[in-house]
């Protein structure tokens, strides 16, 4: 017998929880849902566009009635639960229907607050909460001319905007002196007001309603100062209150919401609650992002998996008024302990303010151009130290380091045909269509359905902006603590710590100890786990090749047609006639289709069949050529110029240095590919300042630069320090690589890693702490003792034969 789960509330929080539950444990419960509204589940935050005529009710339906049928869920529409009998474990509705439960989920949401002034119950006085309210407003707009919206907050302004779109003359009455005072500071509020006035919205600021006057229907409004305004419709949008009367009546502990624990349980352990009706750690939320996080945690516990805790959400806000971009998060007012960074360009209609304390962002307000909102929000939630890029912070992420994609940042004004994802050729129209048609809510959903942002990731900000704009504004961009992959709740850092502290020495041990949801991981986590294990225990020989991506498994790069490329190492970019002859011989003998000079100063052979690889490697080995690891998350190349041996400007022997660096570091596995360069003088012909680690020789010694990237987003290196001798260069290199190897997340290049942890941190560990530098360098060299075996030679001699030969050739 399945257990019975009853859900009170057919809104976004309750149904999202059910959806999450069906995903992880579809067979656990027989589910019954009670909803007081006569509809399926719809996206309540999209009521504003419905009112404005931008969308229809059908557009915003999330789960139609067929969905309930398909998932075997009993839905009672238009039935309000009036009693919970906790002793008898059943819920009872107004018409006497009762339903037994093993587990109960309360998701009763919130109700609009109605100011109890005289006349609040007249016809023509409505709130703005559900489809019924929207229908009433749309009816009024057809028959009447004048509307008053009480409340100049998010909801009130959206309602006013919608009514203007419906042809009404609208006045917003607000008790405060500035609009949206809970989200905006005075300058941003003033810009917003001006822009709304240009659209025909009227405002009465600092006005307190005393009475609503009329015979049967509202006729006018009177304020405390005695003035009056004529109107045919009054929309009350002054806030919401958690709806917990039912729970309270049943004796469940409530304060200003139903009090829940981090597992979303009420004081009665059989009864869970999620959404706007709850109070978690003293906070009641009125936005959708927290509710989705709650739903996930609650579903996990209902499924009896028992992992995951809800620890609260830092929320951000956007206004859903077409053509107005506005973003607000955190503490945007500040106090005597905070500083403000402000950027204002009134002519362009752009305003940004960041509130900073101890070099960490505490809050942000943006008006006009909000593309960087999600970036500031991430910096705020992660409490990132902004010291190193503070001077460029206000100009946005695109101005960090250097140029990148020079895209138009305003997704709203982009054409439908504008390409958002350059890797996968996905246009704005495709993404918007997928979000709308498939009811997508998260970045991961969009990635799965459209592939946008799933390759290099440089368009992630744009995709998030599109998502926010299409489904409604207040979606959290991504969870604060990002799990390593869908198999686990644990983060990269938690997994690494467990491997180290608990001495885990196999992928199986990690998966079992940390309780993965999948039997043996996935293509995302297994390579990461394998890297973390190899990095932590270099001497143990625990490399699991079945968990490596094909390129690393066979030590060659797979190409689009399933053939492979071969790139031998050329130390410091140098080669010899003998090596070139061997490459030429192999190219002719194996009929290589393309011989190409790479950007890393080596020669690549393309179009080789896998079976041929060991023989080719054998021949290359004979000339002294070894694997270039061009296929790996590993040390790639050390690019050099010829330096003072030949160049009249050269200050040091950069070629020799490059070779020494490559001899020391080849064969090491890293979180992502790792490139180096050594230039003989500040003319920097080896382009050392866009490498992960770059050396620029100067007359007095060597300048060391870190965290550069010439790829997806060009980023010039940060200057680490200057040293005097080659020995020091080698020591700093080893220490830097080891710090990166031990602390970066798998698939995180040095550039984003340094932006995450801060250059100051890297300097502390490597430049300022000599003892630590030496320890790191020693650990690197210790690991290298076990890594510097040419994988090509091993395979030429028969290792992993099964990888290169077919299982069988059959005639049939």
């Amino acid at each position: 017998m399945k257990e019975k789960l009853v859900v009170i509330g057919n809104g976004m929080a309750g149904i999202r929880t059910v959806e999450e539950l069906l995903k992880v444990a579809p067979e656990t419960y027989e589910i019954t849902v009670f909803g007081s509204e006569p509809y399926g589940n719809y996206n309540r935050i999209m009521l504003s566009p419905v009112l404005a005529g931008d969308k229809t009710i059908d557009d915003i339906m999330l789960n139609d009635e067929q969905w309930y049928v398909d998932n075997g869920i009993s839905l009672y529409k238009g039935k309000e639960v009036t009693e919970i009998d906790r002793v008898g474990r059943k819920v009872i509705t107004a018409d006497g229907t009762s339903e037994y439960y093993d587990r109960l989920l309360i998701a009763t949401g919130s109700t609009p607050f109605i100011i109890p002034v005289p006349g609040h119950d007249l016809d023509g006085v409505v709130s703005f909460r559900d489809i019924y309210d929207v229908d009433q407003m749309l009816d009024a707009a057809k028959q009447h001319k004048h509307a008053v919206v009480i409340g100049g907050g998010l909801l009130g302004l959206e309602a006013a905007n919608g009514l203007i779109q419906q042809g009404m003359s609208v006045t917003v009455v607000h008790i405060m002196d500035t609009l949206m005072e809970r989200q905006l500071d005075a300058p941003a509020a003033e810009m917003l007001k001006k822009s709304l006035e240009e659209r025909g919205m009227n405002f009465l600021m600092g006005a307190e309603t005393e009475a609503i006057i009329g015979k049967d229907r509202v006729e006018k409004l009177r304020f405390k100062d005695g003035t009056e305004i004529y109107t045919d419709l009054v929309v009350m949008a002054v806030g919401i209150r958690p709806n917990f009367a039912l729970a309270e009546k049943a004796g469940i502990h409530c304060e200003h919401g139903i009090v829940v624990s981090d597992t979303m349980q009420t004081f009665d352990p059989r009864i869970y609650a999620v959404g706007e009706c709850v109070q978690h750690r003293g906070v009641a939320y009125g936005l959708v992002a927290p509710l989705f996080e709650m739903a996930k945690v609650c579903a996990n516990h209902l499924a009896q998996h028992g992992i995951g805790r809800y620890v609260g959400t830092v929320t951000s806000t956007k206004l859903k008024v077409t053509g107005i971009d506005l973003f607000s998060a955190g503490d945007f007012t500040g106090d005597e302990n905070t500083e403000e960074l402000v950027f204002q360009d009134a002519a362009r209609g752009v305003y940004r303010k960041l509130v900073v304390q101890d070099n960490r962002i505490k809050g942000a307000v943006m008006y006009g151009d909000t593309i960087d909102g999600s970036w500031y929000f991430d910096l705020m939630r992660d409490e990132t130290d902004i010291t190193d890029f503070r001077e460029n912070l206000l100009f946005g992420q695109a101005h960090l380091g250097d140029s990148g994609h020079g895209e138009d940042n305003r997704v709203v004004t982009m054409a439908e045909s504008a390409e958002i994802c350059g890797c996968n050729g996905v246009c704005k129209g495709d993404i918007v269509k997928a979000i709308t048609d498939k009811k997508l809510f998260t970045l991961d959903d969009v990635r799965a359905h459209t592939k946008a942002s799933s390759s290099c990731g440089s368009c992630t900000g744009l995709v998030e902006a599109l998502l926010a704009h299409t489904v409604g504004g207040d979606y959290s961009t991504a969870p604060h603590q990002k799990p390593l992959c869908g198999c686990t709740e644990h983060t990269h850092d938690e997994v690494r710590a467990a491997i180290k502290d608990q001495g885990l020495k196999s992928i199986r041990a990690v998966i079992d100890t940390l309780g993965w949801d999948t039997p043996d991981g996935c293509s995302k986590c297994r390579p990461a786990l394998n890297y973390y294990l190899v990095c932590e225990w270099p001497a143990e020989g625990i490399d699991d090749y079945q968990s490596r991506f094909i390129n690393e498994r066979v030590h060659a790069n797979i190409q689009k047609d399933g053939t492979y490329s071969v790139i031998p190492r050329m130390w410091g970019g140098g080669t010899t006639p003998k090596e070139l002859r061997a490459i030429a011989d192999v190219a002719e003998k194996y009929k290589v289709k393309t011989v190409h000079v790479t950007g890393g100063q080596r020669i690549a052979l393309y179009g080789l069949r896998k079976e041929e690889l060991p023989a080719i490697w054998h021949e290359l080995n004979q000339a002294g050529l070894v694997s270039g690891h061009a296929y790996g998350k590993a040390l790639r190349t050390v690019k050099t110029c010829v330096g003072k041996e030949w160049c009249r400007f050269g200050t040091q022997d950069s070629t020799h240095l490059g070779i020494e660096l490559e001899k020391m570091t080849w064969g090491s596995w890293t979180p992502h590919k790792f490139k180096m360069a050594a230039s003989g003088c500040p003319r920097n012909c080896a382009e050392a300042t866009i490498k992960d680690f770059g050396v620029v020789c100067v007359d007095s010694g060597y300048e060391l630069h870190v965290g550069g990237n010439g790829g997806i987003k060009v980023r010039a290196t940060d200057f680490l320090c200057a040293v005097k001798t080659e020995e020091e260069v080698l020591e700093y290199t080893a220490a830097f690589m080891q710090l990166y190897r031990e602390e970066a997340h798998y698939l995180e290049r040095t550039a984003p890693w340094i932006e995450r942890v801060g250059l100051t941190y890297v300097k502390e560990k490597i430049v300022e702490d000599e003892a630590n530098r030496k320890v790191l360098a020693e650990r690197f060299l210790y690991s290298q003792k076990y890594m510097q075996t040419d994988p090509w030679q091993e395979r030429a001699e028969g290792t992993d034969k099964h990888e290169f030969e077919p299982l069988k050739v059959v005639a049939g």
Partner: protein
């Protein structure tokens, strides 16, 4: 089923010829067929061609009863050959069975999926 009538089992190798969570190909005149071995020693056979861009599935990472295509990381169900939603498409699936540790393959693809 119809396919069962014309099944002609060919021994293609032993269980231990394929690593756990690994795959190897059988070369045939109708193209490569990838034989997969899961962590639980189940064996599956699919046409070695991802429905997306033709990537060799035999080179992918095997996890659970799925394989991730090496080219663009599409996930394919090993038992049915169907792409894991929301991706759509399938790779033809072939009957395969064990006789002791001998792996027996039929070259007659199961019905329900175009062989291309």
């Amino acid at each position: 089923m119809v396919a069962a009538m014309s099944e002609n089992w060919i021994e293609v190798g032993k269980m231990n010829d394929i690593p756990q969570l690994g795959s190897r190909v059988v070369r045939t005149s109708q193209g490569d067929i990838a034989i997969f071995r899961t962590a639980k020693d189940e064996v599956f056979a699919l046409r070695d061609k991802c429905p997306h861009k033709g990537g060799p599935l035999s080179q992918g990472i095997v996890h659970g009863k799925r394989v991730a295509c090496p080219l663009h990381d599409w996930k394919i169900h090993l038992d049915s050959g169907e792409a894991v939603a929301p991706d759509e498409g399938c790779a033809a699936s072939y009957p395969v069975k064990l006789d002791g540790d001998r792996i027996l393959l039929s070259l007659m693809p199961k019905e329900g999926c175009p062989n291309q």
